[in-house]
Subunit: 493 residues, 2 copies
């Protein structure tokens, strides 16, 4: 059921198959009350002790809490923004509900004149109502889920009072370990009138669709939300600070995608940093570009200029937790460099890729290190990811420029695949690919796919890269026919 899909995620994504040592086997000595901030000394009488305190209940924090609890540790889980965190409440999940609806409508309209007949539109109000069936009762269900497990839940953000003490409301919580998993938050735009800006959370909760929408930013969030809004009939403009959109994706395929979105009515502006926002006759006026010479009138302007680790209010200095690049500074064990009691997982680490599966793996490493002692490391792994426009754009491994910079010897195999019957059959006119094949090993250094089901095909490439399957074997293998996985063969000329 959609209502508890996130809970299912959290409880089942990493079933426990290992035998863990008992908590007595490895547990640092509590440091309190030494180091406790003086302002919190009066709370000492109310101190509650746990083995682990987890700040944040998203994909990362929720998993750390569950795993630690399952191994017999007592756990406090703090969450002030709705249990479940960004992914199920304001991120991948609701976005994908909306992106899938947009895809359904576009796919239908793309086939005009080929058999499917009728008219298709995307009704925003109905879509939002449907989206809410996936999100609205989730925080309560997820909190109840943790409580039923026996985890102590708190609806506060918590902040450090000492190296291993956390203030939650008028209580002091103390634990052998604290895991910071507070995720990320939009990077604030410090321009005049920034109070008029809306967030991606606002977008995913809009009761009606504004007529004219501007996104400031040219990354994941701007593209995915712009695509949904355009599919639902809004006039959409993306205003981007620099030249290059979607820096984590192949530049040639990004260009192909932006060309396609332009045909669907999205307008793109490059090298156009935001300057100021003002209200103007009931509408908003964004000034941007050099000296604010370009202006954009909109009914809503969204800050999609990236996200930063959400650390405000945690009082990290009180916890002796250092930061790096604005996030928690951690070692290979995901452990704070300055305070060994503290671990971090997920988007709150600046260097991490802000992806649900990555947060999930990091959380598993943190949980194991809390339970067994810091000996499990985060090893780099093949990490495929997808942008959910329609068509989607997916990537795994190196970008062409990265491979060049690293001095790899590789061939580039690329092409426009919109002519393939796989795409022609469904009226898809936007598709392409780029593969980076290492000369000596014939293995993939990177794979970049634009087109229907790219998010599935990229998983095949990811598994091939992980298992070091060369392209000759990939070409010779049997695949279901027809499928987009099979069509991969056409790439290897």
């Amino acid at each position: 059921m959609p209502q508890n899909s996130a809970a299912k995620e959290i409880s089942t994504r990493h079933p426990v198959n290992h035998a863990y040592r008992s908590k007595s086997a490895w547990m640092p000595h509590f440091r309190s009350p030494g180091g406790l901030k003086s302002e919190h000394m009066e709370l000492l009488l109310k101190t509650r002790k746990f083995d682990v305190i987890v700040l944040g209940s998203g994909v990362a924090g929720g998993h750390v809490a569950s795993r630690c609890h399952k191994s017999g540790l007592s756990v406090a889980l703090l969450e002030s923004h709705g249990f479940g965190g960004t992914c199920p409440l304001h991120g991948c999940e609701p976005k994908k509900v909306m992106a899938d609806a947009a895809e359904t409508v576009e796919r239908f309209n793309n086939t005009s004149g080929t058999g499917p007949t009728g008219s298709a539109k995307l009704d925003w109000v109905e879509l939002m109502r449907f989206k809410r069936t996936f999100t609205d009762d989730l925080p309560d269900k997820i909190r109840t889920h943790y409580q039923n497990l026996g985890i102590q839940t708190f609806t506060t953000a918590g902040k450090f009072a000492g190296p291993n003490t956390i203030v939650s409301g008028d209580e002091l919580l103390e634990a052998a370990h604290v895991c910071i998993a507070t995720g990320s938050t939009p990077r604030e735009l410090q321009i005049p009138g920034h109070g008029h800006l809306s967030s991606s959370n606002d977008f995913l909760a809009m009761p009606t669709l504004p007529e004219r929408i501007v996104f400031i930013g040219g990354g994941f969030i701007a593209f995915e939300l712009a695509h949904i809004a355009a599919a639902a009939g809004a006039q959409v403009t993306i205003v981007h600070r620099s030249e290059r959109f979607l820096k984590k994706f192949d530049a040639d395929l990004v260009q192909r995608l932006t060309g396609h979105l332009e045909k669907l009515g999205v307008t793109f502006h490059r090298n156009c940093p935001p300057h100021s926002i003002e209200e103007n006759g009931g509408a908003l006026l964004l000034k941007a570009g050099e000296d604010g010479r370009q202006s954009f009138t909109a009914d809503a302007i969204f800050n999609a200029a990236g996200r930063i680790p959400a650390l405000a209010g945690l009082d990290l200095p009180a916890g002796n937790v250092d930061t790096r690049n604005g996030g928690v500074a951690v070692n290979a064990y995901m452990q704070s460099l300055s305070n060994p009691c503290v671990f971090a997982a997920g988007d709150v680490i600046a260097e991490t890729m802000p992806l649900t599966p990555v947060a999930s793996v990091e959380a598993e490493v943190v949980a194991k290190n809390i339970i067994e002692g810091p000996k499990h490391t985060m090893s780099p792994d093949v990490t495929p990811f997808s942008l959910f426009t329609y068509p989607p754009l997916a990537t795994v491994g190196m970008l062409e420029e990265e491979a060049q910079k690293q001095g790899m010897r590789f061939d580039v195999i690329q092409g426009d695949s919109a002519g393939w019957s796989e795409y022609q059959r469904i009226g898809q006119t936007c598709a392409g690919f780029k593969l980076l094949v290492e000369k000596d090993t014939r293995q993939l250094l990177g794979a970049h796919v634009l087109g229907d089901a790219a998010e599935e095909t990229i998983n095949l490439f990811a598994l091939a890269m992980r298992k070091k399957v060369d392209v000759d074997e990939l070409r010779s293998m049997l695949w279901a026919y027809p499928s987009f996985g099979y069509a991969m063969k056409y790439m290897f000329r």
Copy 2:
């Protein structure tokens, strides 16, 4: 372009990367005129000599012809049913055009009340017109493609006059090697009134959609075409000889799928062998079951009772070519057991799986054996395949009953996945899976998936099986999120 997708297939599916020995390196002595059938002696003056004669221009024959030609051999390619063969003209390709259109409409209608609004229907006439853009000019284009390569093409079926001679019209063709790649043809139903039966080729070319359609048979063809016809608004009935539908797929998932198709209006009858057909007031009346007690009135009745190797008219005895189970009897080199000049590839071999990718691999083996001598063998490989209903049903590896029969020690992991948000988002109420995991190795013995994009997910399982990746590694890997490939993790509880 759809028009030349099959030609592209043929020319690019197996790019040549190997160095081949010259044809002089291995080439048996011509046997003619010894063994030539006496009735053809008068054609001797008109005899044309080739290195290779290929009978049939489908996926298998076309590839053998191209590969042999590319290695410097002279090639004659005979085709009497339109160049390109079943897959691009009357099989996978046009069927998938129609299945995709059905999926587009159904996916749209499944999301009623969730955002996408409007009405969607499948217009048969428009669909057929669109389908023809993929097929109509293909035979000419494919023939021209081969001619431009320098392959001699003939629009005759050809028949054996001797061990390495073929009669084509009033010419005698002689070659060191003959490759039989004539594919398959519907198994004729010898019941009274069988002249009223239509074929799957007829279905794929119907100018209008009959109101009431009956399929005799309960396999791939019956299910795929029934689904398309039902989606386009026909009343569809499947009448099957025995109890078990779709014997190559998991029985539990087949049951789930038939339940779903019943909701869409398809009617299923088991244990109901056909008895007779008669015309009745402008309609057709099928009698079936014991003593023909059950009767079905239809506007069209299709024979979907399976296909057999297409060998009629080839005069195999004249070529000293033995058969086995109704197909060409071959050894591990795909070489005739009784005539070493002759090879066979594709559906014309009874024991082969009638799948395009399999035919393609067999053709590669045959081509290499013709070029380099019989030393390359067909080795069994992991072979995923999919049934293209909506949702699709896909399979790789063993069925549960096969694994039991072979005495494997395995766990069955299965479930209904319609509750997963991946399916809920798009209104899909029919989805499920069954995995067979070997106890000792934790590797997959078989994977069976029902649901959207099953044809893609099954490729991931196929690669995992080929590379012996165990389920613990599959679960721990990073996949694009959300994707159906990622959702695979939910299966491993």
